[in-house]
């Protein structure tokens, strides 16, 4: 029997990353502590290579492979590229943080790249099982990363909480998938979509399956009422890992929602729209209100993430192409801001000192006007104040939701974001209006200083000229969904 060789071009980036991670694992065994930077360099090289392959194999028409289980389209290429960038930036930010804490080890890089591989598979999946496989690869790597600092009780607790709840969510998701399989007879997303279009019979099973799927998705995105893990994990994990968890996986989670709800279950749009509205409103309400009460910056940013994910859902629930590309723009803008925010927490930390409370930001303007300004841009961007990228992110999702006729949802979202502005303003207040508690000068390493500055400038530059990123998102969505 001859098995036809599947077309491997669409999966080349994944194959490359897998090969490189295996190589890194082996090479790392033979490295002494002093030469560990080779692992780091190899990891960055992997990302660069993957980016090059992704760009050079890009076609504007979607190509399917492995019996239609895997798809390589414009959306997946753009999201993958953004994930590479996010992971690369995270690695730069965390380098000195990790080495000062004895966590600059090969495992961190191997796990990070495995997580990235999982995300890439999720982004390109066109089949329930492939999607699930990618999700688990990512999640298992993340659980291990959270527990990387094994002597910290807080981190271990966070990892266990994350694992238990994550496993539960995966279970819910699988259960939902099995129901959809029962109702449609297929695991392939495109076929499921066609079956739902033509189905006349058992709508109840479909709706039940959908409820479980939405619950699983909500957990992975971290929206209310499935958000309880986020604050604990964000606070408990080493900041470098928090940064990692808060960046690229959000891109993958967005892709996950797009593949499942929009490509697979678009026929049930009226069913999931209602659920998403409730979850979006609750996320914005609980995320923003609870964030006010936090004194730990990582926990505060965790609640802010919850509210941002609520905003992200506004674009998706509008059910239009404009809405999807608005959400895509939102998630990319969010990742940019979140990396800057957690990066700043690491920049303020030094050996034996974690800048984890809000008070550590006091008087930053006197210690370093430039980084205070960068943080100011990040905070106003998160609050959605122009001229920063966060404003256009909000503008485009609000526009999409309003166009779909959700006037009162939009008004509620706007009011909650005023509440949200309060705690972002508080950071600005601490930095500019208060005297510093800690007078130690800030001396980030060259690469981190440069990247942190460009991160801040990017938030401003994309706020003044958002067109390129908007056009990219619109291109990706239109090429993939039409």
């Amino acid at each position: 029997m001859i098995v036809a060789m599947p077309n491997l071009t669409p999966v080349l980036p994944e194959i490359f990353v897998l090969a490189m991670v295996s190589l890194i694992l082996v090479v790392d065994l033979f490295l002494t502590e002093k030469n560990r930077f080779i692992t780091y360099a190899l990891a960055q090289l992997t990302l660069l290579g993957a980016a090059w392959i992704t760009v050079s194999t890009h076609t504007s028409v979607p190509s399917h492979t492995f019996s239609d289980m895997f798809v390589d389209d414009a959306m997946s290429d753009v999201l993958k590229l953004m994930s590479y960038i996010a992971v690369s930036v995270v690695l730069v930010y965390s380098r000195s943080y990790l080495s000062l804490r004895g966590m600059f080890r090969g495992e961190f890089f191997a796990l990070a790249l495995f997580a990235l591989l999982g995300m890439m598979v999720m982004i390109s999946a066109n089949h329930f099982l492939v999607l699930y496989m990618g999700l688990e690869l990512m999640s298992l790597s993340l659980y291990a990363m959270v527990a990387l600092n094994r002597d910290s009780a807080l981190a271990t607790e966070a990892a266990i909480k994350y694992f238990v709840l994550g496993a539960l969510a995966s279970g819910l998701l699988l259960y939902g998938m099995s129901m959809l399989y029962g109702a449609t007879g297929s695991l392939n997303l495109s076929q499921v979509a066609t079956m739902i279009q033509h189905t006349t019979g058992n709508h109840v099973v479909l709706s039940f399956g959908l409820v479980f799927i939405v619950a699983g998705l909500a957990f992975k995105l971290g929206v209310v009422p499935f958000h309880m893990w986020i604050p604990d994990v964000y606070q408990g994990a080493p900041t470098a890992v928090t940064l990692f968890v808060g960046a690229a996986p959000k891109i993958a989670a967005f892709a996950f929602v797009m593949r499942l709800l929009v490509e697979g279950l678009h026929g049930l749009v009226h069913d999931w729209q209602g659920m998403l509205i409730i979850m979006a409103l609750l996320s914005m309400a609980i995320g923003n209100v609870t964030a006010i009460a936090q004194s730990n910056i990582k926990r505060m940013l965790a609640y802010s993430t919850i509210s941002h994910m609520g905003f992200l859902l506004l674009g998706i629930l509008s059910g239009t192409l404009d809405g999807y590309s608005a959400s895509m723009f939102y998630v990319l803008a969010y990742v940019l801001m979140s990396m800057g925010g957690f990066g700043m927490v690491m920049l303020l930390s030094r050996q034996g000192f974690e800048a984890e409370t809000l008070d550590d930001f006091k008087g930053l303007n006197q210690r370093s006007p430039w980084y205070a300004f960068v943080m100011l841009l990040l905070m106003f961007s998160m609050a959605g104040v122009p001229p920063t990228v966060g404003f256009y992110a909000k503008l485009s999702v609000l526009q999409a939701a309003l166009q779909a006729g959700f006037l009162w949802v939009v008004v509620a979202a706007v009011l909650f974001s005023v509440i949200g502005a309060f705690y972002y303003l508080r950071i600005v207040k601490l930095m500019y209006f208060d005297a510093p508690l800690d007078k130690a000068p800030l001396k980030p390493q060259g690469d981190m200083a440069m990247l942190m500055s460009s991160n801040g400038i990017a938030v401003l530059a994309l706020g003044i000229l958002p067109q390129p990123l908007m056009a990219l998102c619109a291109y990706a969505i239109q090429r993939s969904l039409l």
């Binding site: 006007p369 256009y392 309003l402 974001s417 502005a421 600005v428 067109q467």
Partner: protein, 494 residues
């Protein structure tokens, strides 16, 4: 004349770039250098804004000095600038005020000088942007962005309760702005994908939609004006802000709210404006009468002037919503005049505060004995604030009162009570601070104003008297645009 002109861009971006340059001078070691760059920037900003007035065609109500470039095609957003007879006055007022603020803060500000000067220069560019923007999103970007430097200015250089005031100022304004954003997006969808303000003027809308849009704009603009009962942020912000902050707030930021009514609410929702004019007039009269009485009992000079600002802005909103030419032109004159007078009043209080570090009326008395020159200037501005004929304060108030009587006798009657209360609170404060015997040893040690302070106050005095004696240069510019607006508002959009 206006084809292909980039003058407006220059007027907007020059102060901003100058501000960034000032920011780049860094720490307070280079403070003098930062001051000089700031002065050059502010002076250049004022000088290049003058051709907007001299080159302005007074016969047309069309937009002039128009610039139109594609900015964000994904949302059909354009970099679209232009001025008419209404906005051109405020652009000049802004660049003039910025110059005064830079000079007034020359010596007084010693901490983070570069950041102070930069904040006001950047704010100046952004506020001019608000007046010049013809694209709704461009307007919104300038509108929101100007909050950031003001927030910092109040919070860093303000008084003891500055944090509370800064946060209150920001959140109050933000809540209104975001509702306005929803209205703008609604109009974008309704107009088939345009963010051009002039397109919205011609867009037919049902009454219900108009009322909702009007209310959304109302929350944004009423907070900024501020109208009773959403005025409570203003006394706090004014009292805590540094002198420069108070001047910019009173002279320009409040005008931005009234300008919003003129540019958005009235022409976009004319039927709703007529339907709700009773509501608006009531709020305005409450501001004029009640807030005037509140001003009477203040013991803090800045707070008193802040309440007097609210009361005067009540005149402006009254003038806008009685829908006749006298009222509307009176409102505009009042806005410009109030920019000079309130700015001058705050500068005078600043002069005293710099010497005594108190704003309490009770701590003063007999200042005239020690500061005769200052007392003379302060007298002129106090008279202008109470609406004495011959000063700019009289012209606007008189026109609005005449317009109000035309609309309804009782409106005019209630509005006219301000001539009594306004004089009462201003002159009573003046009497307690300036006249009488020297109250205490600290007043005894006061020294009269220096040449820098003299220059600032003399410029303002010239403006106040000039506008009071010969207001034509101001009114002739706005004439065509006001007529056009009134005809537009008189036509139903239903």
């Amino acid at each position: 004349m206006s084809e292909g002109s980039t003058l407006l861009s220059w007027v907007i971006w020059l102060p901003i770039v100058a501000g960034l340059l000032v920011l780049a001078t860094g720490s307070d070691r280079n403070a003098q250098f930062a001051r000089i760059i700031a002065l050059i920037g502010a002076l250049a900003g004022f000088i290049i804004s003058i051709p907007l007035y001299t080159g302005f065609d007074r016969l047309t109500s069309d937009m002039q000095f128009v610039e139109y470039k594609s900015w964000i095609p994904a949302f059909n957003i354009h970099y679209n600038l232009g001025v008419d007879g209404i906005s051109v006055l405020f652009i000049l007022l802004t660049s003039f005020t910025t110059l005064l603020v830079v000079i007034a803060g020359w010596k007084v500000i010693e901490k983070n000088v570069a950041q102070y000067m930069a904040a006001f220069l950047i704010m100046s560019g952004l506020m001019i942007g608000v007046f010049a923007a013809l694209d709704a999103i461009l307007f919104y970007v300038f509108w929101e962005a100007m909050l950031i430097p003001m927030f910092i200015a109040i919070g860093v250089w303000g008084g003891p309760n500055r944090v509370y005031a800064a946060v209150k100022f920001f959140l109050y304004t933000l809540i209104g702005s975001l509702l306005m954003l929803v209205a703008l997006i609604y109009l974008f969808n309704k107009s088939g994908g345009s963010f051009s303000i002039l397109d919205y003027h011609a867009l037919p809308l049902g009454l219900e939609a108009q009322v909702l849009i009007f209310l959304a704009f109302f929350t944004a603009f009423a907070v900024k004006v501020p109208m009773w009962p959403v005025h409570t942020w203003l006394p706090d912000a004014h009292v805590e802000a540094p002198t420069g902050g108070s001047v910019v707030l009173a002279a320009i930021m409040l005008k931005v709210g009234a300008y919003g009514f003129l540019r958005f609410s009235l022409p976009i929702a004319p039927d709703a404006s007529h339907a709700l004019s009773g509501f608006m007039i009531t709020l305005s009269l409450i501001a004029v009468v009640y807030i005037g009485l509140v001003a009477l009992v203040q013991s803090d000079m800045k707070k008193l002037i802040a309440y007097s600002s609210i009361s005067h802005m009540g005149f402006v909103t009254l003038g806008l919503f009685i829908f006749n030419q006298l009222g509307m032109e009176g409102a505009l004159v009042q806005m410009v005049s109030h920019g000079f007078v309130a700015g001058a009043m705050f500068l005078c209080v600043g002069v005293l505060y710099d010497r005594m570090h108190t704003r309490n009326i009770a701590d003063y008395g007999g200042v005239a004995n020690k500061m005769p020159m200052f007392a003379a200037f302060f007298m002129l501005f106090a008279m202008a604030n109470s609406g004495l004929p011959g000063t700019s304060g009289f012209v606007g108030e008189f026109m609005v009162i005449l317009g109000a009587i035309k609309a309804n006798f009782w409106y005019g009657f209630l509005a006219a009570t301000t001539l009594i209360t306004g004089a009462a609170y201003t002159l009573w404060m003046y009497k307690r601070v300036v006249f009488g015997a020297v109250a205490n040893p600290r007043v005894e040690r006061l020294s009269d104003i220096g040449s820098r302070e003299f220059l600032v106050l003399a410029l303002l005095a010239a403006a106040v008297l000039g506008m009071g004696l010969y207001p034509l240069p101001v009114t002739e510019v706005m004439h065509a645009s006001v007529n056009n607006l009134l005809t537009h508002v008189a036509q139903s959009k239903l």
